[in-house]
């Protein structure tokens, strides 16, 4: 037995095997766990930069370092979501309806307008595979899925992983192709829930189930690691109560600061 999240984590981790540096942005527990799983079986060859973490994040030059790193080609994979995603892999993190007076307003584009161009393997991730998310055309392009020739663009969409299936993105045709369907889903159910057209094989394979070894890693080491940044997620999924975050010092703040500064 395994949870949907575990299936998604393992599906994403497979796409990261063999890479050298994977970065994970804010509000991304499933991609974060996938990156840590890929690292744990990489025998030390994969570096993970998990935003919001002290232990799994080596950046020391402030908020800009991730972006500078990406522009130089020092990051192989990153993850983006979308309140809307369309068939050309355009993503919308801003709002539904006319801009700026949106019918529904979301937080904003974060670094997507930039990282989508520069990170070679951007994996789109959504836990809501429905017609209102998978739309024919996004209302606002936070970041375009493809660019005209001549635009400097070493990066872009690689795959779309949802609660129903896994798509690959083909840059040449600017279309998604269905790779696998999760247990309980088939081509018809996926088409019903997808507002855009996509390619599909005649027979859609099932997304491979996590192995016992993968589940054991997830439920122990990876779970404890991801709990530092996403304690609620790790608690809900694996009953891991305490993260391995440095304990908040007891006593007054002044005392704890004084202790740090001799």
């Amino acid at each position: 037995m395994y949870r949907l999240e575990e299936l998604l984590i393992v599906s994403i981790a497979t796409m990261l095997d063999g890479l050298k540096h994977v970065a994970v942005g804010a509000s991304s527990p499933v991609p974060g766990a996938a990156a840590l799983l890929a690292r744990s079986r990489s025998q030390g060859s994969l570096r993970v930069s998990l935003l919001g973490s002290r232990r799994h994040n080596a950046f020391t030059d402030g908020g800009k370092e991730l972006f500078d790193c990406a522009a130089q080609g020092r990051i192989d994979a990153f993850f983006l979501g979308g309140a809307q995603i369309d068939g050309e892999a355009n993503i919308n993190l801003v709002g539904v309806g006319d801009y700026p007076k949106a019918k529904a307003r979301f937080p904003g584009s974060f670094g997507s307008s930039y990282l989508y161009f520069l990170v070679p393997r951007v994996i789109l991730f959504s836990l809501e595979h429905s017609p209102r998310v998978m739309v024919p055309r996004v209302d606002f392009i936070s970041a375009p899925g493809a660019s005209p020739e001549g635009v400097y663009r070493p990066g872009g969409p690689y795959a779309l992983v949802t609660n129903r299936c896994v798509f690959a993105f083909r840059r040449k045709t600017r279309r998604f192709r269905l790779l696998t369907a999760h247990p309980g889903e088939d081509l018809a159910s996926i088409r019903d829930n997808t507002g855009f057209e996509f390619d599909a094989p005649e027979r859609v394979p099932e997304t491979p189930a996590p192995s016992e070894a993968e589940l054991a890693l997830l439920r122990d080491r990876v779970g404890r690691e991801i709990a530092e940044v996403y304690p609620a997620f790790a608690g809900r999924l694996w009953n891991i109560e305490q993260g391995n975050e440095a304990e908040i010092p007891a006593g007054s703040t002044e005392e704890s600061i004084a202790a740090r500064f001799h």
């Binding site: 804010a26 509000s27 919001g52 002290r54 950046f59 020391t60 030059d61 402030g62 908020g63 800009k64 972006f67 500078d68 522009a71 993190l93 801003v94 709002g95 801009y99 700026p100 007076k101 949106a102 019918k103 307003r105 979301f106 937080p107 904003g108 584009s109 974060f110 670094g111 997507s112 307008s113 930039y114 990282l115 989508y116 161009f117 520069l118 606002f140 392009i141 936070s142 970041a143 375009p144 660019s147 005209p148 001549g150 635009v151 400097y152 609620a232 440095a246 908040i248 010092p249 703040t253 002044e254 704890s256 600061i257 004084a258 500064f261 001799h262």
Partner: protein
């Protein structure tokens, strides 16, 4: 020449120590362009409450590169005329209710940006140059809605388009840090976006947990993570001044309070009640110890 002199004279080079966060808030004129960090990077929440109490208005709020609870509160309290940010987010606590409402009613002027564009604009200001080029962004609606951004051809290349962003020079940067010394140096550790903000802003106002006797610049282990007083306009001590969003490594976010905020701020009326209880009551009557 005259213009240049005026520009240089506008900076203050000595740090003032103020009595409290209300004095700090008093240094922020109406209409200021004010830069603030995200919830994880040291937010001067006590000073933000003071800013609301003094009835600040027409602020231009800049998220570096995004902004959380303090943004939602300032917008809800009517202090903000314009917002420039890569996101306004309460993270796992859900949608930002007052921000969402202000967008729907067109109460604020919104300038959507993207994280590296805000960093790059501040870096241009830091270098004293008028603009900074940046990769990506081309073909996005973020760019389409920014009439202050331009696309140029790489002057050193052929057929290579680049977005250029004007320097961002905030009137004020406002944030919270763990420690200052008596010279006015402020220790920020690895939170170097705060350093960038201080370098780029005309005025930098900081609330701190503690003011220590030892010169932070005397020890290399601290000096590299310290904003020199040269850039720090004024400091006020505020015990647990980042409550309720917390100060990493020192105290955690007050999750219960933050959930309560989101519930109350869902309606205008509830938000008013929140302000009455936690903001308009004087700072000393607010229990920040939770």
């Amino acid at each position: 020449m005259w213009k240049l002199r005026e520009r240089i004279l506008r900076f203050e080079f000595m740090t003032e120590f103020l009595g409290g966060v209300d004095d700090l808030a008093g240094r922020i004129p109406h209409g200021s362009r004010i830069a603030v960090p995200p919830d994880y990077s040291g937010c001067a929440m006590a000073a933000v409450r003071a800013l609301i109490r003094r009835g600040a208005r027409d602020l231009g709020l800049l998220g570096v590169p995004q902004v959380g609870f303090q943004g939602d509160m300032l917008i809800g309290a009517g202090c903000v005329a314009a917002v420039e940010t890569a996101a306004l987010t309460l993270g796992e606590y859900g949608a930002a209710p007052r921000f969402t409402e202000a967008i729907k009613s067109a109460q604020i002027r919104m300038r959507d940006s993207t994280c590296p564009a805000i960093h790059a604009g501040l870096q241009a200001a830091e270098k004293g140059v008028p603009f900074m080029p940046l990769r990506g962004i081309l073909g996005s609606d973020v760019l389409a809605h920014r009439d202050d951004w331009k696309t140029i051809n790489n002057p050193f290349g052929v057929d290579d388009s680049l977005v250029v962003l004007p320097a961002i020079r905030p009137d004020v940067s406002l944030f919270h840090a763990a420690l200052a010394d008596r010279e006015g140096n402020v220790w920020i550790g690895v939170r170097r976006e705060l350093m960038l903000m201080a370098h780029a802003s005309r005025q930098t106002l900081v609330s701190v947990e503690a003011i220590g006797d030892q010169d932070l610049l005397s020890d290399d282990r601290y000096a590299s993570g310290t904003i020199p007083s040269l850039y720090v306009s004024a400091i006020a001590q505020a015990h647990r001044g980042a409550w309720p969003v917390g100060l990493k490594e020192h105290y955690a976010p007050d999750a219960q309070h933050l959930r309560q905020y989101v519930l109350l701020a869902a309606t205008e009326d509830g938000f008013r009640r929140y302000l009455d209880k936690f903001v308009y009551a004087s700072e000393s009557s607010v229990d920040v110890s939770a």
